[in-house]
Symmetry: C2
Subunit: 548 residues, 2 copies
Amino acid sequence: MHDNELVLLPLGGAGEIGMNFNAYGFGPPDERKWIVVDCGVLFGRETDTPGVDVILPDVRYLEERRQDILGIVLTHAHEDHIGAIGHLWPKLMCPLYATPFTARLIEDKLAEAGLQDHVRPKVVKLGGKIKLGPFDIEFHSITHSIPEPNALVIRTPLGTVMHTGDWKLDPDPLIGEATDEAEFRRIGDEGVLAMVCDSTNALVQGHSGSEGDVKRGLIELIGTLKGAVAVTGFASNLARLQSIAEAAQAHGREVALVGRSMHRITAAARETGYMKGFPRVIDEFEAADLPADRVLYLCTGSQGEPRAALARIARGDHPAVKLGQGDAVIFSSRIIPGNDIAIHELHNQLSALGVEVLTVEDHFVHVSGHPCREELSQMYRLIRPQIAVPVHGELRHMSEHARLARSLQVPQAVVVQNGDMLRLAPGRAMVIDEAPAGRIYMDGRVMTEADEGLTRHRRAMAFAGFIGVTLALDAKGRLAGEPSYFFEGVPEEVQEPVRDAVAETVKRHNPKRAGEEDLKEQVRRAGRRAANDAWGKKPVTRVEILWV
Amino acid sequence: MHDNELVLLPLGGAGEIGMNFNAYGFGPPDERKWIVVDCGVLFGRETDTPGVDVILPDVRYLEERRQDILGIVLTHAHEDHIGAIGHLWPKLMCPLYATPFTARLIEDKLAEAGLQDHVRPKVVKLGGKIKLGPFDIEFHSITHSIPEPNALVIRTPLGTVMHTGDWKLDPDPLIGEATDEAEFRRIGDEGVLAMVCDSTNALVQGHSGSEGDVKRGLIELIGTLKGAVAVTGFASNLARLQSIAEAAQAHGREVALVGRSMHRITAAARETGYMKGFPRVIDEFEAADLPADRVLYLCTGSQGEPRAALARIARGDHPAVKLGQGDAVIFSSRIIPGNDIAIHELHNQLSALGVEVLTVEDHFVHVSGHPCREELSQMYRLIRPQIAVPVHGELRHMSEHARLARSLQVPQAVVVQNGDMLRLAPGRAMVIDEAPAGRIYMDGRVMTEADEGLTRHRRAMAFAGFIGVTLALDAKGRLAGEPSYFFEGVPEEVQEPVRDAVAETVKRHNPKRAGEEDLKEQVRRAGRRAANDAWGKKPVTRVEILWV
């Protein structure tokens, strides 16, 4: 008979900013009941994972324990927290819990995945509570860069966990209330075993700043502009959208929303009551008929996404919106790592049109939604946990977060990686087991495992191209016809030497002495070597036999 | 009979930071004599140009006028100013002019390219002059992030051009003298027609800062560190290397150079007299035997280059240098756009070893070598040109630079792109012609043109893989044997549907009705469509016929 244990098992987010997926288990090792907090995606990048749109956590460990999962609780509606639901719910098939706005966007996800008739999120009111087996879960409103961010207080018979979700301390969040620090202090007063906390900005000094200040910055900046203005940012930051719209209004400009996710988010916000203070918006074609100084376009595409509204505007192929000399584009956003080249290329295209580009580099037009070091310190002072568990970060962020927590006299700070099963209680926190963990790629519509190596193989072809040689053999293993070739992404100059080397090799082939596998391997090596001699690079090289 | 004209023809650098190559022509249109200023490379990036190490300007316009090129003048020894000499000199075959340190590194380039017996750079002393036909060229020492940066004053019968090269106004450059502003003012007093000027930091407010201040920052920071210290930065910034070495010395640490380019640069510096004030360096193996707090490693690899010293140290496979808990790595460098992911991955690996990572984000350990807006303004006040020609920038930098110049009352500021032939005199500056211009990729050892599309094709394979189908046909055009396949980077699930679609299509093939080109195209389309249906992505698909 084993004792109860409380464990944390991150399957995503402990090693990357994205793909957040944390499971909490309670019970003796073989009878644990589980809850999951968040179920998000990580976006693929052309450099690392060409052709992969989104990356999911590998949840096979929980899939095998599906009957013991009591529910998935979603802290807020960002893609890196809810984006994997459509892909992973069929594996886990458990109830979903979220506050109204988040639930509304989850419904979109489920509908996209054709799951709307199988599951609907259970709506928890702001500040609400749910009980899932041994877990008593309280939702506490906090501030972030989307409506309805929640920190979860998870009470168990072995202690309380504060799971922060994504947060900051914004004294003037514009939508929702400022974080109630007294409430968080009371939670701390009760005694908190562990705080599982956002590490995104653990390397950034100071305070993340306030949406209220950004609003004032935008009003001031937009007042200085004479031509048409387009502002781009993250559509899910509704407070920001409203600030921009109010800044437009303050200077007599009409607002048009441009881009699909602007409409998607504002529709969800309207249905959940968050659009009440939002200025009227007009159609983008209607806006385009107004004088330039009477209009402001609120656009998707701040990360240089080639199919988003702003990229189309910059290429001059947007059906409604044209910008040129005298107009301005404000990037009310930051550069997400890996997107710098695409964003700068967008700046270049806008510059070529004569459009002025205004960014956070020179203007106060953006703040982060995650806590910088001052805010982290403040939260540790309020909650005073026994154990700090940094999540939502790469190793560099989590390590520094742990260092900061220790400097604030948190007795124990533990850096975990996806798949580490961390026992929080009883006893000192320690990794007691390792669960299978990894990344699943959505490669087109097919789920593939990262270690299958498909993207690595494609990157090898991106680097040095592909050579395919087909040899026809008759029933006696003798060559028939001339070898046939594919040269893909390989310079012209390389082809002749490869053909010569292959011809030379097949000429020496004696079907009585060597089998076809031997022939294939010899031809492959000869072709690859000849390519390398001519080019200085080794293409991916394959040989196939066609039996005639 | 035509009149003399003075023209500027940038073939590189007007549209990118890198690949600097500016030609100046003087004479009537058909009898122009040319000089070239700088001959640099741009580094390829996996995202845009996988498998391409360096990118060169397309100089065919000048190659066709080779007999009229009087010389190539190199302003300083950075790769984006001299790196293309080994590749392009055989096309241009003209004399090379440079100051001693630059000339010494050019000799390395020529030797690498096997050209050392064909050409040697002509050495110009600091502050020296050369006369090349109608061009009187004066070298003026300026400050930058490498020894011996030069601005060129190019006097012609139609006016004087100030070609700044890369520069900043560093009051305390540590190596070389601070820029003599009085001298630049005297040049301005003479009357300058055009200033062709560095745009790198045209978007950055304020002043770039001084190497002297970085030195003081490094001394202070290194004094706080207890374990072994590694510092990484650009090897060509000899002043920085010396600052780091002196900071080590100040705290009783021995210095070891780790990485090939550290040795290459210091060797060139030693031969040209720049190592006189440099502290003694010890061998890396010898250093590794010292106590951790007695050693500082000066390492290559600040951009996350996987084969550089620091990446090997972070992976734990450097033969001499091991770092761990309690040690620190200082990145005395910035993140070059496009390298953020690789650099952060390096930070993560170092964090995993327990190594503390210190960067310019939190510590004063780096300054840029290029002029920020205050310095640009100051230079315009000194030189007072009639025409500002921003170069050394992307469009966004050059546009903003031109805007700044106009705001400083420069009568004309012209944004040009590679290949624009800009007449500087007589008359108002204007683009009078377009020369072929573009990018040449060093793809392995083969030069390919950007618009050949080899890298685009390889990127398509990186995104969606490759399917090759080989069909054997007999002399009568009838199918022989089963089709043979290559599936590269394509998920398993996609293969069966493609085989079925191909089988279906070839079954319908009637050699009397349709030729083999028609067969190939039908099979290609059927295969690609089947892949798309199964996968949601369209692989690069090719079909070949093997005649038996």
